[in-house]
Amino acid sequence: MASVATGVALPRAVAGPRRALHFKGYLLVLPAVVYVLALLGFPLVLGIWYSLTDTTVARDGHFIGLKNFVEAARDPTFRLALRNTVIIAAVATAAKITLSVALAFLMLGAFRGRSVLRTLFVLPWTIPVALSTIAWKWMFHSQFSVINWVLLKVGVIDQGIQWLGTPIPAMFAVILVSTWRAVPFGAIVIMAGLTALPADVIDAARVDGASWWQRFSQVIVPLIAPILFIAILFDLIFTLTELTVVYLLTGGGPVDQTQVLANYALQVGVPGSQLGLGAAIALFMLPLLLFMTVMALRTIARREGMA
């Protein structure tokens, strides 16, 4: 923003009346704002309204207060979905951040083949998630799983694992695919953060006689903390509301053991036609998501030098 604040004042003759310019300026912003308000803001409000009514596909609903939320809270499948959503988000996010930082450091500096490696590493993140998930589903196949074949050959297991048919391996599979897909993105964001660090600041902060872990946690982490924080919040928001991996990989099974809120909302709301209840399930996380969004934006605003 510095360039705007200190920019040379426009010559009066060409600047025109400031207020008219501002008015035109806001007019230019209007289409984007209207579009987003109409197709994102309005549905969000409508969804909140639905969650407070007994709306179904067939009829408009009546206001029933928090009954949908109470009903959801009593529903064992909902509780399972809530539990799984939290577990997947917590484990996957921890794994993603750890691996992203590790990969970012491994990729630092210039070495031969780096750009080729980078192109390969980002593949999981750049291919549409539905298509990679279906490939993983085939790798986890009940009869022809290549993962089982390799594990059997190496001798790690002596009989094939029913990856998607047993609760814990199925959760593992969901978390693995989610992590596999997201690590490149995290790594690239962190790499961007590291590359942009001023070298003299890091050198000045060098602590002699400390272990590499101490130096890592006391010098590097504080320096990349803001970017790490944004990356974690973004990832949590998208992991908590993730649907595609579960929908395609396990369908929430076996018997809802990998069910998550977004997928359950889809089942209740679309094939089940209970729009009100479905909206309530989908929006259950809204307060938490709003909180995380505000935190992320405050960090971004600080980086932009506004706050």
């Binding site: 705007v4 920019g7 426009l10 060409v14 300026g25 230019l28 289409p31 984007a32 704002v33 579009y35 987003v36 197709l39 994102l40 969804g47 639905y50 990969l103 491994l106 990729m107 630092l108 500096g109 490696l117 590493f121 980002v122 999981p124 750049t126 291919i127 549409p128 998630v129 539905a130 298509l131 998930t133 279906i134 490939a135 290549v146 596999w180 961007a192 953060g193 590359t195 660090l197 001023p198 070298a199 890091i202 130096r215 890592f216 590097i220 973004f234 928001i237 998208f238 649907l243 595609t244 977004a262 909302a265 889809l266 709301g269 989908a282 969004t293 934006l297 605003a301 932009e304 506004m306």
Partner: protein, 298 residues
């Protein structure tokens, strides 16, 4: 832009130094091995897609064959099935039309907004910019239920136009943010010089600002296109007929008939539809990261 004034990757070299790792240690076998293992995990699913695509069914569905290599001659049967027995080409076409529609809507709305917010010194412009960006963080899973009603009311259910209409809600917020960054980096003197020379502001924008910012326009456009191809939930909810599905949905729904998965053709479809998107995305990755990290290099 501190990063540009320093030797490339100075920050990362300093990061290594502070950990006390010498140049020699950075190149140690451990690092090479770790990277090799990681590469293997990253690319194996893609290898698996490729080898499955070209395997004969008898080879594919055998518990004794080595699944990692061809035990029978490679075949194009799965690709042929995909192209001739499914609507794969229709789905690709649908995705293309949807993508182009989303790009047009995104650029028409995001370019003026990004320009005004970055350059017209509007009171509250930064806050408004961040507010628009915030909507990028509203996930489709919160919106698809009420949106089905909106799409239905507009009579767009089960058409590709429902997706052309709805998907820009994801791409506009991010593109506005991305373009704000690009427009801010164009020097004010250049625009003012054009204005002093008697150009109208519109002429200055079209002849000076936009040509200079074409990398940003390209990045926004490609981002909008990639987003529309990545989408899964909205297509799943808004389109149901085979003829109107985009490719990501068509491949993973129409090649599964009840309990029967056409794995060979599924992988062929994933490969043929997925790789172009992945390559496209890779091209403007740096711009995308720049947008996400929001001025980390300032």
């Amino acid at each position: 832009m501190i990063a540009e004034s320093l030797p490339r990757d100075a920050g990362s070299r300093a990061a290594w130094r502070v950990l006390g790792l010498s140049r020699w240690q950075r190149g140690t076998t451990l690092r090479v091995i770790t990277l090799a293992v990681y590469t293997l995990l990253t690319v194996f699913p893609f290898y698996w897609m490729i080898i499955t695509t070209f395997k004969q069914n008898s080879d594919l569905y055998s518990e004794t064959n080595n699944p990692l290599w061809f035990n029978a001659p490679p075949t194009l049967d799965n690709v042929t099935y995909l192209l001739e027995q499914t609507r794969f080409l229709t789905w690709m076409w649908n995705s293309l039309v949807i993508g182009i529609g989303v790009v047009i809507i995104t650029l028409i709305t995001a370019v003026p907004a990004g320009y005004a917010l970055a350059r017209l010194r509007l009171p509250g412009a930064e806050k408004l910019g961040i507010a628009i960006f915030a909507t990028y963080l509203v996930p489709p899973t919160l919106l698809f239920i009420p949106l089905t009603r909106v799409v239905h009311t507009l009579g767009l259910q089960n058409t590709i136009w429902s997706l052309v209409l709805v998907l820009p809600t994801i791409s506009i917020p991010f593109s506005v943010w991305l373009l704000m960054g690009f427009f801010k980096n164009v020097s004010f003197e250049i625009e003012e010089a054009a204005l002093v020379d008697g150009a109208t502001r519109a002429q200055a924008v079209f002849h000076v600002i936009l040509p200079i910012s074409r990398a940003g326009l390209a990045a926004s456009g490609m981002f909008a296109f990639a987003i529309s191809l990545q989408a899964f939930l909205y297509p799943l909810v808004f389109t149901s007929s085979t003829a109107v599905k985009p490719v990501t949905l068509g491949v993973v729904t129409d090649l599964i008939r009840g309990d029967l998965f056409y794995w060979g053709s599924l992988m062929a479809g994933a490969l043929l539809a997925g790789l172009p998107v992945a390559i496209l995305f890779n091209y403007f990755l740096d711009d995308f990261v720049e947008g996400i990290t929001a001025g980390s290099s300032k």
